[in-house]
Each structure stands twice: as structure tokens, then as C-alpha cells.
């Protein structure tokens, strides 16, 4: 009984930690480099990258259009505004 509870607690803790880790939106050099590389590969000319509403907001230019690309913590593109 105790063991089960403990296991559950540890599991919950580990899950929570990992969820927390992927949920972090942080402007580290590494993250900026990742986003820049990813968007550059997709043909964007990447300018400044900021945080907005818990997402990354990359200012880019593509095909002569001025875009704001929003990405979540896992670098999925959520939306693109022009």
C-alpha cells in the first residue's frame, strides 16, 4: 500500500517535472539559436525574438512580408501574423 502510494507520488513528481521542463518558455541563447535555425531553414529572415503571452515571438521576413511567428515551448509554430 505504502509502496504503491510512494510509486504513484514519485511518478507524479517525475511527470510534473518533465511537464514543467517542456513547458518552459525561456529566452536562452540555445533556444534563440534553435528557433533561428528552424525558421531560417523554412526560408525566414529572422530578426529579434521576444516572449509574448507565454510563447516565443519571432519577428521575421519571408517573401517580402513582415511576419510575427509565435512558437510554443516545444518550438511548434502556433500562429503566424503578418
Amino acid at each position: 500500500m505504502f509502496k504503491t502510494t510512494l510509486t504513484a507520488a514519485i511518478l507524479a513528481a517525475v511527470t510534473a517535472t518533465s511537464a514543467f521542463a517542456t513547458g518552459m518558455v525561456e529566452l536562452t541563447e540555445e533556444n534563440i539559436a534553435t528557433i533561428t535555425e528552424m525558421l531560417t531553414a523554412e526560408g525566414h529572415e529572422v530578426g529579434k525574438i521576444k516572449l509574448e503571452d507565454g510563447m516565443y515571438e519571432a519577428y521575421t521576413k519571408k517573401d517580402g512580408e513582415k511576419l510575427e511567428v509565435f512558437l510554443d515551448a516545444d518550438f511548434n509554430i502556433v500562429k503566424i501574423e503578418d
Binding site: E45, V46, G47, K48, E52, Y59, T60, K61, G64, K66
Partner: protein, 173 residues
């Protein structure tokens, strides 16, 4: 006391429209929104209008009636410290410096803000940094302006906020 017409309607309309627009853009409106840009354009228009009005407007609206003068500003500061009262009908020397400061700062805010939207400076950091520093400076200036108006109203017993609403100052004989 004599009641004298000092501020023409355009000066007053300019002043209070600017108050609303600046407060709105600096404190309330989401700076990522289109509205922020439109209000910014209105402010640029207001500043441009005031520059023209400074040459063709009412007597006390003209720059010629309040030339920047360090010497006069120091004298007014001395009066403020010593409590000696000399009445300036239009803008006081320190008030004049504040107006030039605010007009220049608002122009810089408008210019840097507009640059952020251009093809050339899209995604470039420095116009945004200039924009933010200039806005902070303007906010500080506005706070100082309000305190100075309250202080000078008490010191000179000429109700300055009311004059900017009605256009009239009650001046001692």
C-alpha cells in the same frame, strides 16, 4: 485680479488630446495592437500641428513668446526656492523648456515607433530600445510637469490647470 485670455482653443484641444493619447498608449493600450499604432499616428499629427501652431497660432502659443532661455529658467528656479512671485502670463521659462523637451521626446517616440513597423527595421532591436527609453523619459517628464504645475499654482496663486481648460488666467494686478 484681471481675467485674461491666454490659451487659444487649439492649444487646449492639443494639450488634452495629447494627454488622452499618451496616457492611452503608454499605460492602457496593448502595444502589440493596431490601435497602439493608430494612436501613435495621432500623436505624431498632434506634434506636427503644435510645431506649425507655434508659428501661426495665438499670441501665447507662438514659440516667439516662449523662447528657450537658460538664464530665465534659472531665475524662475530661484523664485521658486525663495518664494518670490513674478507672474508670467504665458508659458514660464521652465514650462517652456518642458514643452520643448516633451515635443522633442514625443517626436523621437513617434519616429522610433514608426521605424519598428518599416520593412527596413522590422525585427531590429534598437528602434524598440530607443522607443522604450524615450517613453520612460516622457513619463518621468509628465510626472515632473504635473508636480511643477501644482507647485506653481500654489506659489503664484494662478490656477494653471483651470487655465488650460478654460483658456483664462486670473492674474494679480
Amino acid at each position: 485680479m484681471t481675467r485674461e485670455k491666454i490659451w487659444d482653443p487649439m492649444v487646449r484641444l492639443f494639450h488634452w488630446t495629447l494627454v488622452l493619447c499618451f496616457a492611452g498608449n503608454a499605460l492602457i493600450i496593448d502595444d502589440e495592437s493596431d490601435l497602439h499604432l493608430y494612436v501613435g499616428y495621432v500623436i505624431i499629427g498632434l506634434v506636427a500641428f503644435r510645431l506649425i501652431w507655434g508659428f501661426v497660432g495665438g499670441r501665447y502659443a507662438r514659440f516667439a513668446s516662449f523662447p528657450p532661455s537658460a538664464q530665465d529658467a534659472v531665475e524662475q528656479a530661484r523664485d521658486m526656492v525663495s518664494g518670490r512671485v513674478r507672474i508670467h502670463k504665458g508659458h514660464t521659462p521652465l514650462g517652456a523648456l518642458m514643452i520643448y523637451n516633451l515635443l522633442a521626446t514625443l517626436a523621437l517616440i513617434g519616429l522610433s515607433g514608426w521605424l519598428m513597423t518599416t520593412d527596413m527595421f522590422w525585427g531590429v532591436e534598437w528602434p524598440e530600445e530607443v522607443h522604450e527609453v524615450a517613453v520612460s523619459w516622457a513619463e518621468l517628464s509628465v510626472v515632473l510637469h504635473i508636480f511643477a504645475v501644482i507647485f506653481e499654482t500654489k506659489r503664484t496663486r494662478v490656477n494653471l490647470p483651470r487655465a488650460m481648460v478654460t483658456g483664462y488666467k486670473d492674474l494679480p494686478e
